[in-house]
Amino acid sequence: MSSPSIQAHNLVKTFGNFTAVKNLNLEVQPGEIFGFLGANGAGKTTAMRMLCGLLKPSSGHATVAGFNVSTQTEHVKKNIGYMSQKFSIYDDLTLKENIQLFSTIYGLTSAQTQERMKQLAIQFELEDKLKNLVSTLPLGWKQKLAFSIAVIHQPRIVFLDEPTSGVDPMTRRQFWEMIADTASTGTTVFVTTHYMDEAEYCDRVSIMVDGQIQVLDTPQKIREQFSAQTMDDVFSLLARQKKTNPKQIL
């Protein structure tokens, strides 16, 4: 197997007295869909931001696409795509303008941009919407667009921060098909979610509680380990174990 896409070793992030992420250890292989689960406030977003080179780790070591996240942020950023939890594409630009902007930012030539735009438009069924202002589109389409932008430069790893929150079940399904398509081309997908049923779409998942990874395995093995029917049950079990913390609501 080739070298891992993401490697984290004892990654720690503290804000003052508060430790948001405690000794994070994980390894994600190329082409894998890795589900990064946890309740709100469990430290998912903080961990993800460190891996994207947006936040400097307090201690520990991590590489993404082979580059150190605290010293080689520039290289890390060139090799990743990012889609944030809040829908964050420019509403007052058209789909085409959004795609052009980000492909230029990632250094694609205009010929490459044209070609990628065509590909993505077909792949994500955006063709007849390209000239529409983003604000006129329903949320599902916006999410598709945000995803196309995250993969516009064919990154080696794409980070998705709760990409399906607030989307109807039908669109969520379509979205996961898009993710599977992308992973099949060798792109690593690192995705956070709080919809436990979505964990089943992932090759492996980790569940984070209080800044620490409690479980990390394939969804099937995790269910077996906890002798649970669904991932949701696993999550409830984990939450019950840690009743002392009032933040464990889900």
Binding site: Y90, Q100, L101
Partner: protein
């Protein structure tokens, strides 16, 4: 640098697709110039006055004609006695009454020096003061013209010349202030809003996950506002000279350079505000309190700094617009060159550097 170009283009699209932004950038300057240049004017023409002429002499008649001939006053009431003057103040809304005593003509010929009495409506103090000033100069001119050559001259005479603004046009005082206000709104408020909007909508986080360095992002966002402000300053100066006849005695190119410097100061103020606020509303509020109130009231634009209480004067010194207005007035009206306004230039440049340093430090702190 194609990424920067793409970014600037995107920013222009934001501006041109938002009607409110367009309105603020292009219509507000015209509105402000017109409001201050035409509507708000301390020059008063055709003020309604009453004449109470108890003398009915020729001299008195000549004086009244002279007053009537000036376009400052309009005589709406002609009386013999002052008995129901108050009623006329109330019913005809006159601003001033001029009382000419019975022996005006006689005193005019062979002393004692004649006197006239002015009664002004001080419920509007500024108007009253201006009218008294106007009538005094008319009466003085009349006395000088009509004194018999034999009459003894006063021990000395004062001749006044108003340099740099001989016609005392107050629009000349307002234009530099309006320029400062418009540049503040477009450069400081609009940029702080557009920067904070990226934070609020989460696009800032998306942008920072790209390889684009954050200074480039900020520069890309500022370039359109810098250009629009530069165009705006030319536009306002053009209006000032063409419509209001304000002179530019200094070098117009140097004047433009000072405008560009002030735009940079305003942009850094915008960056600073965006670094201390997280929502667009907060940015607007901070701009209102931190920029417009001081620019309007403490910069010497409307109220002279010399008239402010002693504790307020030092505060006025840290208002960037104060220094800009000073420099602009000197260059336009007195024909000062860059060397003459070096202090103002250094202060504005110093403020820019200071604001940028603080903002960069703050954003670095947030990133770790």
């Amino acid at each position: 640098m194609s990424a920067l170009a793409a970014f600037v283009k995107k920013e222009f699209l934001h501006i041109f697709r938002d009607k409110r932004t367009l309105l603020i950038i292009f219509c507000m300057p015209i509105a402000l110039v017109m409001i201050f240049g035409i509507v708000i004017s301390t020059e008063i023409y055709d003020a309604k006055i009453a004449i109470v002429d108890a003398s009915s002499g020729i001299r008195a008649q000549q004086l009244i004609e002279k007053i009537n001939a000036s376009n400052y006053f309009k005589i709406v009431s002609h009386l013999r006695s002052s008995s129901n003057l108050e009623e006329i103040f109330r019913s005809q809304n006159i601003k001033l009454a001029i009382l000419i005593p019975q022996n005006f003509d006689k005193d005019f010929q062979n002393g004692p020096p004649p006197y006239i009495q002015l009664i002004a409506d001080a419920s509007d103090l500024n108007v009253a003061t201006t009218l008294i000033g106007n009538i005094t100069s008319i009466v003085q001119a009349f006395v000088e013209e009509n004194s018999p050559p034999s009459a003894s001259l006063p021990p000395f005479q004062i001749t006044t010349r108003m340099y740099y603004n001989p016609e005392q046009r107050d629009v000349f005082m307002f234009i530099p202030g309006i320029l400062a206000l418009v540049l503040m709104i477009v450069s400081a408020m609009m940029t702080s809003i557009t920067l904070v909007r990226e934070k609020e909508f989460g696009t800032w986080r998306l942008l920072s996950s790209t390889p684009l360095p954050s200074p480039i992002i900020i520069v890309g966002k500022l370039i359109p506002y810098f250009l629009l402000s530069a165009i705006n300053s030319c536009f306002i100066l053009g209006l000032a000279t063409s419509v209001f006849g304000m002179p530019i005695h200094g070098n117009p190119f140097e004047l433009f350079l000072v405008c560009l410097l002030f735009i940079l100061t305003s942009l850094s103020l915008g960056i600073f505000i965006s670094s201390i606020t997280h929502t667009q509303q907060a940015a607007i509020l901070a701009s209102m309190v931190g920029l417009f109130l001081p620019t309007t009231f403490l910069s010497g634009f409307i109220f002279p700094i010399e008239n402010m209480p002693a504790w307020l004067q030092p505060i006025a010194q840290i208002v960037p617009a104060k220094w800009f207005i000073e420099a602009i007035k000197r260059m336009m009206l007195k024909g000062a060159s860059l060397q003459h306004v070096l202090t103002q230039i250094y202060v504005l440049a110093g403020m820019t550097v200071l604001l940028l340093t603080i903002s960069i430090r703050r954003s670095r702190k947030q990133a770790t």
